[in-house]
């Protein structure tokens, strides 16, 4: 398997606090890696470093062998790094369809088209509708996102990522706050993406049952450092995870 995404010695300090501490890890195509760790362990910060929302203090991020550590978030996205956010982060005043269409046109020259009418680009609309069908949001396509239920906003968050069609999918707690009957829709979608074997998926998740069914591999972050990496069963059983999740002190790692 080839390494699609790789971080080496990735570190960020905020003042004296080391939020992510020299994390070296490689992610392969066709692999779904769950990233776990207690609150404040640095999972989302690690994501932010990879997708470029914050700049690293030291270390590097490589995508398909190329150093992307100094590129803007938009440039990283263009190169195939897709990111969904933990707190829903959409275009609230625009319709559901418009949100997905914006994700679809993002990497195409049509975005620079000044003098053509949006309604003439039926291809874009069709593609957006296909994505909305997949996440079961087609019926609310004309609603403004601000009026959508929380569960539907989470689904749209996933839809935006699917619409971008990236090489690497980064999900940050995709089912957070979703009701019991809504979460499976999102999890099924992620399972479906996993079936397309050329995709690399990173998933920050707290629910152990989700991780057990979906993950090929688990890495554990604690106080910003990578403390465990391996098969789900063995990592979950390991002392580090037990202690981290039980809130005990980690003495020697």
């Amino acid at each position: 398997m080839t390494e699609v995404l790789e971080t080496s010695g990735l570190t960020v300090r905020f003042g004296g606090h080391v939020a992510v501490d020299a994390v070296s890890c490689a992610f392969r195509a066709g692999e779904l890696t769950a990233i776990v760790g207690p609150n404040g362990a640095g999972k989302t910060t690690y994501f932010n470093l990879i997708s470029g929302q914050i700049a690293a203090s030291s270390g590097s991020v490589r995508l398909m062998g190329q150093d992307i550590g100094r590129l803007s978030p938009s440039e990283r996205c263009k190169r195939g790094l897709g990111r969904a956010f933990q707190l829903t982060n959409l275009f609230p005043g625009l319709s559901v369809l418009e949100n997905v269409r914006l994700a679809i046109q993002a990497h195409r020259p049509v975005s620079a088209s000044l003098f053509s009418m949006v309604s003439r680009h039926t291809g874009l609309t069709d593609e957006a509708m296909a994505v909305l069908e997949r996440v079961r949001l087609a019926t609310v396509k004309d609603q403004p996102v601000s009026e959508l239920s929380h569960g539907n906003q989470r689904k749209l968050e996933v839809a935006m990522l699917i619409a971008l069609d990236p090489k690497v999918y980064m999900f940050d707690e995709p089912t957070a706050g979703m009701s019991g009957d809504e979460a499976p829709v999102v999890l099924d979608l992620i399972a479906g993406l996993k079936a397309q074997t050329d995709r690399t998926i990173l998933l920050v998740e707290h629910k152990m049952d989700v991780i057990r069914t979906l993950a090929d591999r688990i890495i554990v972050l604690h106080n910003g450092a990578l403390v465990a990496d391996g098969e789900p069963a063995e990592v979950i059983a390991s002392d580090v995870v037990q202690e981290a999740y039980m809130g005990k002190e980690l003495t020697d790692v």
Partner: protein
């Protein structure tokens, strides 16, 4: 359908709004015949230009979410471009075209530089920089009186065919002069540029601008280079404002700081866009029409109201034409209070 393509599929989405827009359009189209008189034509030309100016400002403020205080500076660049070209190259259509294009190019270049230096940092920084640059340019224009005519500005000559001396006979009981021809040049140029703006906001590019307004962080995250889009929008908006300025100068046959560069004008513009409804180009039509009409006719209206109420001591003094700014202010406060989404937003929301 042709109309659909002309308005870029951006329907008014409200019956009352459609009726209002149609009334304004027909009123302006037939202004010389419907409302004879110098003052009415003056008002109609001013409305045409301000609709265009407000629409170009809305592209920035309402669609992209960028606050600029330099919009009248760009307006002024177009006006001075036409004025200076006509003065130095002699009267003629060539001077008008060269002046307009030079003004628009200068405005776009200024906008590009300001955007390049400030939009990278934070959008609020842009507002401050535009304020500083606009003030500096206004001071410069009043100081360089040998070129710009200073505070007094200067008058210039336009092609004879567009002047009042050109009489072309009567039509529908109205004496057709070059002035009326000039009005139609201003009206149709404004209309075409307005429709171009309407098309831009309804293009894929326009949607990206709205996405940036809604959530610039996410727009960047899905791959849009926010700074680049904001910069392009700023340049387009500045160039169109300059063209509006050229039309205004052509109409007035005069340029000066008060008519094109003043800060009061900038505030008027802000109010037009807010009252009409930000983020909808149609709002510019409603806002500009109301504003210009109020500025022109409120004093008259108050004069007659004051006479009518002469017997009532306090009321007649409140209605004195000199107090017109007070009432304009009251009207603005009321309209912002009752229509926070602007008149267009209110009409679209229904009851």
């Amino acid at each position: 359908m042709m109309l659909h393509a002309l308005i870029s599929g951006d329907r008014p989405r409200s019956r009352i709004l459609t009726a209002l827009l149609l009334a304004i359009f027909l009123g302006l189209l037939f202004a010389p015949f419907l409302f004879p008189g110098v003052r009415a034509l003056e008002t109609a030309a001013r409305i045409s230009v301000f609709i265009l100016l407000a629409a170009s400002y809305d592209l920035l403020l309402g669609y992209t979410g960028v606050v600029s205080f330099a919009h009248t500076m760009f307006f002024g660049m177009g006006a001075y471009g036409v004025g200076l070209a006509s003065q130095h190259m002699g009267r003629g259509y060539g001077s008008l075209i060269v002046g307009s294009l030079a003004g628009a190019a200068l405005a776009a270049a200024f906008a590009f530089l300001i955007a390049l230096f400030s939009l990278r940092v934070r959008a609020i920084f842009f507002a401050m920089i535009t304020l500083a640059v606009a003030s500096a340019v206004a001071v410069l224009v009043s100081q360089l009186s040998s070129i710009t005519g200073g505070e007094d500005g200067f008058t210039f000559q336009i092609p004879r065919a567009l002047g009042p001396a050109n009489r072309m006979g009567e039509f529908m009981g109205v004496q057709i002069t070059g002035k009326i021809l000039n009005y139609y040049v201003v009206f149709f140029c404004s209309l075409i540029l307005f429709l171009v703006l309407l098309r831009i906001v309804n293009s894929p590019f326009g949607r990206v601008l709205q996405a940036i307004r809604e959530n610039d962080f996410r727009a960047e995250a899905i791959g849009y280079r926010v700074v680049r889009y904001r910069t392009i929008a700023t340049c387009i908006s500045a160039a169109v404002a300059a063209l509006a300025g050229s039309l205004f100068a052509l109409w007035l046959r005069y340029v000066g700081p008060d008519t094109t560069l003043s800060f009061e004008l900038m505030l008027d513009l802000l109010l037009i866009v807010v009252i009409g409804g930000m983020g909808t180009i149609w709002g510019a039509v409603i806002g500009a029409t109301l504003m210009v009409l109020a500025q022109t006719y409120l004093q008259d209206l108050m004069g007659s109201a004051a006479e009518a109420t002469a017997a009532i001591p306090l009321l007649s003094r409140l209605l004195d034409p000199d107090r017109w700014l007070l009432w304009l202010g009251v009207l603005f406060i009321l309209s912002v209070y009752f229509f926070p989404a602007g008149i267009v937003g209110r009409l679209r929301a229904g009851r």
